[in-house]
């Protein structure tokens, strides 16, 4: 029975403290009943190798314990589509353009490379890493807090079909959409400058000027 005890101990580790003993007592009783029934059929004690399939069928300790816990998610299925749009916008409108500019400057600006020799070139990307980490972390935390609050259920239930946006016509570029994209781009640039990317831009301009002079 040592194998069963080890299994139960592993399950117990993942269980909520106040229910640990109760759940383990019940699961233990079930497993021991199964083993005793098989022992009665075979007329002998089961070897560990014969107990193993019973435990494997029961499931891995973490999986078994997980079934006793309430279902939780950091960001639930109702909010996840909005979260996904925000994260993708952050990457494509903010982090990706910044990275592209940095790559351009690192390749085409000798001055920038001279200012950041060797490993310092990659260290100059620190503000990008920081901005990326903090912005993704902030968004995730904000959505997780929204998920926890009751605001979600109220907001999701109070919607009006007439307030939905008009059906999108692919042949027509809407003025509102263009203004929105422009505003978003300007806002991204403003945030980008605010977070210290101005140095990279300065070097990019410098690089372009140098190239123009050479020609």
């Amino acid at each position: 029975m040592e194998l069963v005890d080890r299994y139960l101990q592993a399950v117990k580790f993942w269980l909520p403290r106040e229910q640990k003993d109760d759940i383990i007592a019940e699961l233990s009783e079930d497993l021991r009943s199964q083993i005793e029934e098989k022992e009665a059929e075979r007329g002998r004690k089961l070897a560990d190798a014969e107990v193993e399939p019973i435990l494997k069928r029961c499931g891995s300790p973490m999986k078994v314990a997980g079934r006793y816990l309430p279902q939780r998610s950091l960001i639930g299925p109702a909010l996840f589509p909005i979260y996904s749009v925000v994260i993708r916008s952050l990457i494509f409108y903010f982090l990706f353009p910044w990275l592209l500019v940095w790559i351009g400057v690192a390749i085409f600006s000798p001055d920038f490379r001279a200012d950041h020799p060797g490993a310092a070139l990659f260290l100059s990307l620190d503000p990008w890493w920081l901005a990326g980490t903090y912005s993704l972390l902030f968004c995730t935390l904000a959505f997780a807090m929204l998920e926890r609050s009751q605001m979600r259920s109220q907001a999701m239930n109070q919607w009006n079909p007439s307030a939905l946006p008009v059906a999108h016509d692919r042949n027509n570029i809407s003025r509102g959409g263009t203004i929105f994209e422009l505003t978003l781009s300007v806002a991204s640039l403003a945030l980008w400058f605010e977070l210290g990317a101005f140095r990279s831009v300065f070097h990019l301009l410098d690089c372009i000027t140098t190239l123009a002079r050479r020609e």
Partner: protein, 113 residues
């Protein structure tokens, strides 16, 4: 995308389990019109073609008890402590309503088939 590489047998098995999962609370409530402890309840369900593993049954029993549909009691039997479950008065009422709903679903499906 795991759905893309599922073979037809796996797909059938997943859908079969999903179908049975929805019926398990009803089967458990119906079986607990008679008092059982976990292991005998599992055997009773398996004998009626509704096999359920221990990792699914015990959390389900706890949920149903927390909803006030079951009552449980630890008792000694054959020199071992066992937790016995049975339907609560509220559980009996809900079971009656669920059985009506189940029959209605069955009739509707028969009509569609």
């Amino acid at each position: 995308m795991s759905h893309g590489i599922e073979n037809p047998d796996q797909r059938f098995e997943n859908l079969r389990q999903e179908l049975r999962r929805g019926s398990l609370p009803l089967a458990v409530l119906a079986a607990l019109r008679t008092e059982h402890y976990g292991y005998t309840l599992r055997k009773t369900l398996a004998d009626h073609g509704m096999a359920i593993d221990e990792g699914t049954l015990y959390p389900l029993l706890r949920r149903l008890e927390a909803q006030g549909l079951l009552v449980s009691q630890w008792r000694e039997e054959d020199k071992r402590n066992k937790r016995f479950y049975r339907l609560s008065p509220n559980g009996k009422l809900i079971l009656k309503q669920l059985l009506v709903e189940w029959k209605s679903i069955h009739t509707s499906l028969e009509d569609i088939f």
